[in-house]
Symmetry: C5
Amino acid sequence: MPRFLKSSRKKTAGSAPGTLVHIGEQRTEKAHISLIDYTQDQIQERKVEQVEALFALRDTASTTWINIDGIHDLALMEAIGSHFGIHPLTLEDIVNTGHRPKVEEFDSYVYMVLKMLRYDEDAHMVVSEQVSLILGARFLISLQEAPGDVFEPIRERLVKAKGRIRTRGCDYLAYTLIDAVVDHYFYILEKMGEQIEVLEDRLTDRPDADVVQELHNLKREALYLRKQVWPMREVLSRLTKGEFDLVQEENYRFWGDVYDHIVQLMDTIESYRDMLAGMMDLYLSTVSNRMNQVMKVLTIMATIFIPITFIVGVYGMNFKHMPELEWPWGYGLVWAVMVILVIAMLIIFKKKKWL
Amino acid sequence: MPRFLKSSRKKTAGSAPGTLVHIGEQRTEKAHISLIDYTQDQIQERKVEQVEALFALRDTASTTWINIDGIHDLALMEAIGSHFGIHPLTLEDIVNTGHRPKVEEFDSYVYMVLKMLRYDEDAHMVVSEQVSLILGARFLISLQEAPGDVFEPIRERLVKAKGRIRTRGCDYLAYTLIDAVVDHYFYILEKMGEQIEVLEDRLTDRPDADVVQELHNLKREALYLRKQVWPMREVLSRLTKGEFDLVQEENYRFWGDVYDHIVQLMDTIESYRDMLAGMMDLYLSTVSNRMNQVMKVLTIMATIFIPITFIVGVYGMNFKHMPELEWPWGYGLVWAVMVILVIAMLIIFKKKKWL
Amino acid sequence: MPRFLKSSRKKTAGSAPGTLVHIGEQRTEKAHISLIDYTQDQIQERKVEQVEALFALRDTASTTWINIDGIHDLALMEAIGSHFGIHPLTLEDIVNTGHRPKVEEFDSYVYMVLKMLRYDEDAHMVVSEQVSLILGARFLISLQEAPGDVFEPIRERLVKAKGRIRTRGCDYLAYTLIDAVVDHYFYILEKMGEQIEVLEDRLTDRPDADVVQELHNLKREALYLRKQVWPMREVLSRLTKGEFDLVQEENYRFWGDVYDHIVQLMDTIESYRDMLAGMMDLYLSTVSNRMNQVMKVLTIMATIFIPITFIVGVYGMNFKHMPELEWPWGYGLVWAVMVILVIAMLIIFKKKKWL
Amino acid sequence: MPRFLKSSRKKTAGSAPGTLVHIGEQRTEKAHISLIDYTQDQIQERKVEQVEALFALRDTASTTWINIDGIHDLALMEAIGSHFGIHPLTLEDIVNTGHRPKVEEFDSYVYMVLKMLRYDEDAHMVVSEQVSLILGARFLISLQEAPGDVFEPIRERLVKAKGRIRTRGCDYLAYTLIDAVVDHYFYILEKMGEQIEVLEDRLTDRPDADVVQELHNLKREALYLRKQVWPMREVLSRLTKGEFDLVQEENYRFWGDVYDHIVQLMDTIESYRDMLAGMMDLYLSTVSNRMNQVMKVLTIMATIFIPITFIVGVYGMNFKHMPELEWPWGYGLVWAVMVILVIAMLIIFKKKKWL
Amino acid sequence: MPRFLKSSRKKTAGSAPGTLVHIGEQRTEKAHISLIDYTQDQIQERKVEQVEALFALRDTASTTWINIDGIHDLALMEAIGSHFGIHPLTLEDIVNTGHRPKVEEFDSYVYMVLKMLRYDEDAHMVVSEQVSLILGARFLISLQEAPGDVFEPIRERLVKAKGRIRTRGCDYLAYTLIDAVVDHYFYILEKMGEQIEVLEDRLTDRPDADVVQELHNLKREALYLRKQVWPMREVLSRLTKGEFDLVQEENYRFWGDVYDHIVQLMDTIESYRDMLAGMMDLYLSTVSNRMNQVMKVLTIMATIFIPITFIVGVYGMNFKHMPELEWPWGYGLVWAVMVILVIAMLIIFKKKKWL
């Protein structure tokens, strides 16, 4: 899981709004541009080296999907921006990776930003990346922080022309991308659910301090997920309601489907949070139970032995005149007294249900 | 009660939306199809082996209830889907058993999905199953995961022509099915209420660690029920408000009745949750009370015996020159001092209300 | 106070909706019917043996108040139902005593259901009973579970023709009944407030385990009251807003007055809940304070005596060659060392503010 | 601060609505009536003995402010009521001092009720009193429980004709009265804030049991204030929105100003509540910290001395055949062993960071 | 961070509304007035000594930004107020530094008030100051408590004519000022996030009492920030929705951008609050864990040594007739018994998983 608290905004306060400043992990690698241009009948897929090669495709009748890995390349961003008519505030949002998911309509495009979460199977960690989508009439631009994404199956489906995907236009393509992102959230939540189950079993078996630390981490991660998923609800609700002209009415039902998924995700996250809170309570009560147990043992031991240790101390005194010491049955008598005392104590404890 | 955390969605991320993938417990048995076709005057009830036998009934004037146990049979699902004109997204929802209750209107039908909970008297467990209803103009299709349901009394009433049921159309039939499901929720809640009462008595009698574990389980189960019942509220609210053409106005009042039941269920679940939280508090304060009691005993014992044990230790020393040891009344004096000390201690404890 | 968790619904799941099944405490006594029929000028009050005697009064110009104690008499219920044109769902609601307060409009009447709470001065307990009101154009039927209610002063006022009551119609009569019920809630809350004050004093004086148990009980009872009062708010809000034709506009202000009382009741209940939560916190912190106190005493005693007990142990050893034992001032020296040690300890404790 | 739980309603349940019953502290002193009657140019201020003297002023063109201290004088109330055309329900509300702040419009007047809080500098206590305002077209009646209020500066301003007050009509006068009441809330909150600050310092310096008690009291008082202020928000929101004809549009902005103050008050009260909750947490963690500290000291002392006390016990035994006792370096050896043991213990504690 | 609880309102209760009374830190220095007057082509920036010099600029076609440091100069305030047509209630709000952020429309201007937070790098403290903005058609007046603000970069951009700032009018200038203030909130939150991370690491490494104190402080500060930021949401929401004529439609998108930032700030503050609450839980469970650990050590030591210390005590008694003392292998036997006892204890502890 990602560290929760990343410092998300380092723009020099007071700089002119719309000034491009990349905010996020420092990167130096070259940005990659890949292009898929298709109609129902034909498709071309290729890497693009020069950004100018894209410009011709803006207004063609074919659907154009431009994917850019590397939003830290500000020159590239500005070139794209000026050619595709992107508003300066949108460009500023794209290069600021600390953004909250949102959707905004501009004159010639709809801008969407969301978080893509991928589970890195090697590192056993979740990788979080910001994805911006610019949905135009005949093109869709997706902008990512780094190479590697969850869109591979979509590329395959496009090439193989499986399903509705080649015929339904740019907004349907945007929907499939967002659907893929949201599907991955389910996968992440499943992983998390497994961790919670493992932790719950450990809580009953051997509740130690590590469990608390892990509980705390899971709570933080649930908090992080909630922060990412919650605003998606509003985004998709607006997309479903036909607020945007660029989203075709025939595709509303699909957006509604993603909306349902988001609601289900929120439900699950809230359940997780409730469960984690319940587990914390369980842990605390287990610890205080154990403490009680420990205290009882100590108290029983001490309460039994303290009085008889005092008695043997008495007869360890060296007074000249201690008549009991002379009695022939004195030693036996002391033992008898002590045994009776111990038995009495044990009966009392039995009654108090401490044994 | 079902395990709370079932991994609810395993669709390969990125697969085309609408691709049928069964998500849920793996099943291999053959799907069962049963058919009840009736008008006010006549009724036929039979098992159907070939799905094609159903197709003729779609548009007849009689009311047709098709019940299918076994949504894992994807070929069957697709046959039903294509013949009855079911949208691919609906089919996808039907075979995904991790769904949230919802209602959706399509061109020719209303789709409803909800959870059916049955208390298995033998296993002393609650069995949860997803039920989908497709309400058409002249037919109702109910789709379940496995054989066994709560609809038996309805089948009887249909056959015996008791009450309004044979005259009021498909939507009334859908209402009776949902009413039966909701009635079972009350039964489950009653069972849960009994468990809570038993637990509460145990909490006062002998609060041990098991009680906490059971409290935790009950809290989880209340959470699970809440997650299932909460969205039903919205579903029924929409059915009551006449949003759907296929629901007849004369039946609104019946749907409103189920809505009232759902609200009452939510009330009860919230009460249970509050009560369980209160019981946790009670348990914790009882434990800390007991700890206090134990500590007091220990402290009283230790505080009384520690000083006098020291005194007897003093006169156990072997110094050559210890005048007290020679005194004839030394031993008696030491006893006197010790008795006074103990009495003084007891008085102090009395004043501090520790005794 | 009533047991919180009464199993409220035992209808055989799947039975036809509208089938009359009495749900509640089992009763066998005969149902009582009393009748008050009045115009501004005259009034008759009498017991009715045969239900048929009521039927003539349904459409007379006089205002007719029929009160029935004993909803378990299903034959009576059905007779009333069929004559006064009561919907089967209403009848079902009337005989099910586990209902949530609500108001519903039907073609010829308005149906209201609420809980009547009475403080039984002998048993020092609150008795809860479900009251249903059927408000027609010229009649009002009130249905109770058992004899005994809070309406006696209203009967007197009717007979003595005090105030507006004889001139303002059926809906005003319904209002006075509900006002009487709500007034009794205030009385119950006052009793509860007194208990809370007594408990709060005890909490400061001698906080023992019983206090926690009583706190828990009060919390449960507050929860129960809240569950009864909360839906009344919606009921009265709807009655105030002129949603029902049978409620005359000139009486809106009176309903609004009851609505205000309900809001005030909710305020008070919420305050009680907050106070009880605060008292629980206070109790827990008091307990942990005391534990701290006890531990300090133990630690002080142990820490002072443990080292000097060790010292006297040393000189109780029987080694042949222990030079100190031979010293003439050895014994005195040991005492000196021990006294210094104890004083040092006391100074340290003083500094740590443990004394 | 006032006792939180005053039994606020003692009306005999079932008495006719609108029957005047004074509810509140029992009072016997005579009611005082004072009158200020003014136009822009002239003003008269005087005590009134006979209520009839007021009647002539109801419809004069001048603005008339009648202030009555002593709502327990029911005969007076009824005289006022019948002459000024006050609705019976309003009169009932006026004499019931357990009311929630509210505003209600009647045919010829607007009725407002709120709580006036005054800090009694002598008793170091807050005095709470209910104030009712009846705003007519040409008169304003203010009704209080007892003499003494926060309106003195307003009387002065009226007489000295300072500011807008003489020209803006009855509703502006009502606004200045409410503004004065709300201003006093700020003063009370400031006093409370000071107490919280003092308590917070004490919490860090010497957290004892009294602190908890005071925290509890402050929480209760914050609860009480919240209960009084919260409904004011709705009252003023309605006054601001032009819902009432008797409130002139040119004065809306002034009411809006009081509304802002109420919102600010709520903010502050919520902050106080959050802070008090935080302080409770802080206290509890401090206590458990101290307990930990105490336990460590005890454990260190016990763990160091218990083994060596055992050793000296061993050589205090009186067996005939104990070779070590004969060894010339036996005593020295024992000391060496004990010193090594203690040093080892200390090193272990150091590692565990207990020292 | 500022002290949370500053007594924010000290107006003499009852003084005429609109009377100017400065509320806030007492200041004596002279107020500073600076003026920037610009069109797209030219700009003049200068200090102004006499307030009258400003008056000429009110209605010129150029955009005039008047910045005043020192709202405690009431004479100046009144001069400004009367010349620029400021409502008395606005003036009262400006000089009362305890205000909640809000926006209000008046006939000829829009009044906004908000809190400016600056991190003082020298004092490592946050300085809070109230800023009021009066947005007229051709002028913008900003009023601050003291010299020093976050607007320096804006002044530079104005002079250097960078970006859109010189062409977009007064409302755009107001937006840049507010944007600068909000940007600084992010900076403050980042600082706070860093502190939380440091504290979280300390919590795991060495959780001592100071950590709790710091947690408490951070919680208070988060509370303070929330109180400042929360009302900004409503302010900006209203500015975005085109409610005010003085805000040009072409600038809505910019205000919307600030609104997004505020929402993001709220998200982050809520996350911080959740995290701090989680850390408190973590701390408490760590403390109770440690206590448990300590108790176990004590109990193990005591339980092992108490019985064997008793045994050696027995044989330290001085009875004449103690046969064991005479046995030649008595001493060895005692040792054997004790070793067996200790081993048995250790085995028990092992089973109980205390070791």
